[in-house]
């Protein structure tokens, strides 16, 4: 009846969805790892990688959901805002003596600075575009995103950005700093805490599993990103379950109606755009600046990243924060990470050798009844082909289930339970 119980039961359901999806992913990757004959540590590290992807996709999709799912702001330059976030944070935190040099500032300054810079770029892009029709924002964001990439890529600024090769050794993340005396070297003397943790993970800890330092650091760093994801999720759920969220929804539905009720929609749009850009900056920092990546370079931020994030949001259901995380998880795990692994397994299992290099070479033998070359070609090119599957899935979703997995739920934008009537609220007071 009351907000609390209703909110709590939804929270439980949503936690169930996420837990279910993660369980599914872990089982899939456990099976894939086993089929590929990975050692235990290898399987664990592949689960870590999936968790990492799920978390960073979750962050990016949540930010896009604020823009597109809630306020209807069609931002197709997500990659650019992520790039600004991570580049700025690396520039702020890289050692002064490094090449390209940084400012040597502490990590929290770098993270906040990166988010702020992304928000400012959002301001510059949004200020002119948000006043116009919504398609202008789309054009503006994709243009800005590409301009950002070209700028980081260009030789002119390579003194500061590293040009096409970017920053090849980015400052170590907080887990390394916490566990190692010299955070930049994995073989350095550990801190007392580090020593204890490494000892635990390597020998005694989890029975028969023995994990080395890199795995340990990666797992803990991934957990840290998961914590960031949980915080951002909680922040957004609170932010949109409020009068603010109502205004955003009304802008998405009918901006003129919102204006005619006295809402300064331009201000709301600009603020929301900047907030979402800041969160995209944060996603970029976590994605490219944390672990698994030791370098940041412009071509990691090609426009397709934006489209992956959009697809994940469409799968999960635009307008739902839980759906965003769910869509991010399923996309990252099942559509992005799994297909190449499946292809490898099939290639091995079917004994496909010397697959043709071109589609012509693959098509020819079909005429003579030989399917293996075609199969080999397809499996060989799985990393590219998976996006054809994604495209097909997208068309299916748009036709059959445009609201995605959770977009159909009516998530009421309110800080209280609106269904409580004045007369009822007096009667129901006792259970609060």
């Amino acid at each position: 009846m009351s907000t609390d119980t209703e909110g709590r039961s939804r929270l439980v359901t949503d936690a169930g969805y996420i837990a279910g999806a993660m369980l599914l992913l872990y089982v899939v990757f456990l099976i894939l790892g086993t089929l590929q004959g990975y050692p235990v540590a290898g399987i664990i590290s592949s689960l870590q990688r999936v968790t990492f992807l799920v978390a960073v996709y979750g962050l990016a999709v949540l930010a896009l959901n604020l823009h597109w799912g809630y306020a209807g702001l069609f931002n197709i330059g997500v990659a650019g805002f992520m790039a600004v976030g991570v580049y700025t944070s690396v520039m702020l935190t890289a050692p002064v003596g490094a090449s390209p040099p940084g400012l040597g500032l502490p990590l929290p300054v770098g993270i906040l600075g990166g988010m702020l810079a992304a928000a400012l770029v959002g301001l510059i892009a949004g200020l002119p575009a948000l006043r116009l029709r919504s398609d202008y924002l789309a054009i503006m964001t994709v243009a800005v995103s590409e301009i950002i990439r070209f700028t980081y890529n260009s030789n002119t600024f390579s003194q500061f950005t590293g040009g096409a090769s970017g920053f090849d050794s980015i400052p170590p993340g907080p887990i390394r700093q916490l566990l190692l005396q010299d955070a930049s070297s994995i073989i350095s003397e550990p801190t007392p805490l580090g020593a204890a943790i490494f000892q635990f993970m390597e020998f005694s800890g989890i029975g028969w599993i023995s994990l080395g330092r890199p795995d340990t650091i990666n797992i803990l760093s991934t957990l840290l990103i998961v914590v960031v994801l949980v915080l951002v999720y909680a922040f957004l759920v609170r932010a949109v379950n409020s009068p603010y969220g109502r205004v955003l929804k009304s802008i998405r539905e009918d901006e003129v109606a919102a204006q005619s009720l006295g809402k300064n929609t331009s201000r709301f749009k600009l603020k929301t755009f900047m907030l979402g850009c800041a969160l995209m900056g944060l996603a970029g920092i976590m994605w490219f600046g944390a672990i698994g990546q030791s370098s940041v370079y412009p071509n990691a931020f090609r426009p397709e990243i934006t489209f992956y994030i959009f697809i994940a949001l469409i799968i999960g259901g635009a307008g739902s924060n839980t759906g965003s995380v769910l869509g991010g998880a399923l996309f990252a795990g099942l559509l992005f990470e799994a297909p190449p692994r499946v292809a490898t397994i099939l290639t091995d299992a079917l004994g496909v050798t010397n697959a043709p290099d071109t589609i012509i070479g693959a098509l020819g033998p079909i005429a003579s009844g030989q399917l293996t070359p075609m199969l080999g070609f397809l499996l060989d090119n799985m990393s590219q082909l998976r996006f054809i599957f994604v495209g097909v899935l997208l068309i299916y979703l748009i036709q059959r289930r445009p609201e995605g997995l959770l977009g159909h739920r009516s998530e009421i934008a309110a800080a209280t339970d609106l269904s409580v009537r004045p007369s009822q609220s007096k009667g129901g007071e006792t259970d609060e």
Binding site: P243, V247, A257, Q259, S260, L261, A414, A415, S419
Partner: protein, 296 residues
């Protein structure tokens, strides 16, 4: 509940004009008498309003005034420029020329939200309900200056308490308004599933939740079935008695004649005639403008 929604301004004449020494009995009637004799305020003045779309002149130098607390009708054949006039008054369109004054302030060319926040709200000819939001959400959107419209206040633990408590108060007002418009039984459905008439009711109820002084209604009865139509007109009269001012576009001449104390007739972007029902009925220009028109 029916005495609840009413702009603060209604009480001003009472406070200002009532000498304390008068006993309550005579004071009531004295105020009523005074109200009848003294001319009421003119919240809305439209002066030489002109709006061109490319080659089309939709409004062509229209001038009129609306008296405080009145139910003023705005009629005219299709394409006369009524909706465009509304759009120019409320900032949806910028007028090509002319001036709009609200409570003595020049509001010409202000943004729609600026006009609305001054207490002048409107409904649309084609209802603009927010389809994927529930009736309750639609209603809760409207109240002005809600604390929780700030992200910071909505997310910060200490400050959110104020957001919640204000929303609880507004929620109560919203339910009262929904009961007043007899929409309470569909409060939790999405507005997109409502019938045409219910949408019109919702749009009006929602506009009233902004606590306006004056409401512009663009064909609030279009698509509303006859029983609902009666109800809606009744509501409008009740609200007017509470002190709201209405400017009301309607195609049905009979309804306008019966319900509006003052009528403005537009034709080809100009104000053709103005006055009470009898003046309009006997106005030759009006009869001519409507000649051949189906005005039933």
């Amino acid at each position: 509940m029916s005495d609840e929604p009413g702009p603060a301004t209604t009480n001003i004449p009472d406070d200002v004009e009532t000498p304390d020494e008068l006993d309550p009995e005579s004071h009531d009637s004295a105020v009523e008498e005074a109200a009848k004799r003294t001319p009421r305020g003119i919240p809305l003045r439209v002066d030489g309003l002109r709006k061109e779309f490319g080659g089309i002149t939709a409004v062509d130098g229209a001038s009129f005034q609306v008296e405080a607390g009145s139910l003023t009708g705005l009629i005219g054949p299709n394409g006369a420029g009524k909706s465009t006039t509304f759009n120019c008054i409320t900032g949806v369109h910028t007028p090509t020329a002319g001036q709009v004054q609200f409570n003595g302030e020049n509001i010409t060319g202000l943004e729609p939200h600026e006009v609305a926040n001054r207490g002048l709200v409107r409904t649309f000819q084609i209802a603009r309900e927010l389809e994927e939001m529930t009736v309750l959400e639609n209603m809760m959107l409207a109240p002005k200056h809600q604390r929780g419209e700030s992200v910071v206040r909505s997310v910060t633990p200490g400050l959110r308490r104020d957001v919640v408590s204000q929303e609880e108060e507004l929620r109560e007002e919203v339910w009262e308004m929904l009961e007043f418009f007899e929409l309470d039984h569909i409060a939790e459905v999405e507005a997109g599933t409502l019938s045409g008439g219910q949408r019109k009711l919702l749009e009006m109820a929602r506009a009233l939740m902004t606590d306006p002084e004056m409401v512009l209604l663009d064909e609030p009865l279009a698509g509303v079935n006859p029983t609902l139509e009666e109800k809606l007109l009744e509501r409008i009269h009740e609200l007017r008695e509470d002190g709201y001012t209405f400017l009301f576009v309607e195609h049905d001449m009979d309804i306008i004649m019966e319900h509006c104390e003052h009528i403005i007739v537009m034709h080809q972007g100009k104000v053709l005639a103005e006055g009470g029902a009898d003046d309009i009925r006997n106005n030759e220009a009006v009869v001519e403008a409507y000649l051949g028109e189906d005005v039933s």
